[in-house]
Symmetry: C2
Subunit: 214 residues, 2 copies
DNA sequence: TTTCTTCTACTGGTTTTCTGGTATTTTTTT
DNA sequence: AAAAAAATACCAGAAAACCAGTAGAAGAAA
């Protein structure tokens, strides 16, 4: 090993910071270079110091995690960002990753998982804690309101709508009257509690109800 | 250790089957209980035999992977299904998981990863190979055909359309004329080469261009 | 400065979706 | 056999989306 890994912690909860530090000082590869309670403090630090990886709480009081992450990556593209959060909402996870994070951990992460994820991230991989993988895998299972129960025909029509077919085309395709298709569409909108196909398709896609376009 | 893990392989490529068998016989915990070249053969077997985990190729000649997976879980809910595939399309991954798969591996998986994933799956976790995590994390970055380049305003409008807002509402929201919104929508349709918002939203969602609903 | 892109806005017309009803037939379940 | 659920079909009108073409103004890039 040539040199120690330079790691920073950004979190406004002293207890979390203490805990992380304790865990990480046991690891001889890792050097905790700095702890910060705000995103902007860390960005300043980053301008004059090299940091290999940062554990970033995404719920900071002053700024939001997304923006901090984006800024970190623009100031120092090679610094890995591991998002650390209590929030297990899928959309937040996705947004962080979209903004360049190397991974996402819930704060209930185990010590073993934490160190694994750090090494994975530094190795250029994407790192998730167990609970996060669960969220990414089964968006609907973690949903408050369940997916409406659809009939076979409704699923077919839903799929065809997503493929951009108009009522007339769908009717031909399924050998029924266009008026029947309209009824199905109407029932779909009602079941999903939306008022146009745009949101219908959005929600259906989020729930993994649609086939990918061949 | 009380008893060996019972593992089955379902794949129509003899070479893959051979390879998997070779790798797995080196592992004294695992007993390869059976190899099958079709989904229905395996389902039959499953009715009379206990299988802890099955490595399932999702591109079988006779049936499709989703349905086989669903059937496996209905015949034997405790059998873990690890999907094995060359296909790295996000929506396929999601569909398999939706249908009860415990994980998804691309066939370029390493030996180490494979065994890790098997243990993770048996342990009730969701298991992904490295490449799959990459896909889940950054849907857009892994696309073959590039996503059309969107302007800032177009992205905003796209998002609002996905949220089910009408032209009039979007116009109010963005403080512009409804006619301007219409133009943006039109440009979006043109850029994505589709002719209605349904397919627009479908494709945008597939590419991870939309925020998920909280 | 000129050019390119983006954002803005318009006219006018067509197609499709959406809304609120109703209702018969077929299939499934009890 | 009766009841419930699903698939089928219709009318008529309102609202929204879609199409084709044009074009000025602001801002960024050459």
């Amino acid at each position: 090993m040539n040199r120690k890994i330079s790691l920073a912690i950004v979190d406004d909860h002293p207890i979390v910071v203490q805990g992380l530090q304790m865990i990480l000082t046991n690891n001889s590869d890792i050097n905790v270079t700095g702890c910060f309670t705000s995103g902007s403090d860390f960005i300043e630090f980053l301008k004059n110091n090299e940091v290999d990886i940062v554990l970033l709480d995404i719920m900071l009081p002053d700024s939001n995690g997304m923006d901090v992450c984006k800024e970190i990556k623009s100031v120092s593209p090679n610094t890995c960002v591991l998002a650390l959060s209590n929030h297990s909402e899928r959309s937040i996870v996705m947004q962080m990753l979209q903004n360049g994070a190397s991974g996402y951990l819930l704060k209930n992460v185990s010590v073993q998982e934490l160190t694994n994820c750090i090494y994975e991230a530094l190795n250029g991989e994407v790192a998730f804690s167990k609970a996060v993988k669960e969220i990414l895998a089964r968006p609907s299972a973690n949903d408050l309101k369940g997916i409406p129960q659809l009939t076979k025909r409704e699923k077919e029509v839903l799929q065809l709508i997503a493929e951009g077919k108009t009522t007339a085309l769908m009717a031909k395709h399924l050998f029924v009257s266009p008026l029947t298709i309209e009824t199905h569409r109407r029932n779909l909108l009602q079941k999903f509690e939306v008022k146009n196909v745009a949101s219908l398709i959005k929600i259906a896609a989020d729930h993994g109800l649609l086939k990918s376009i061949g």
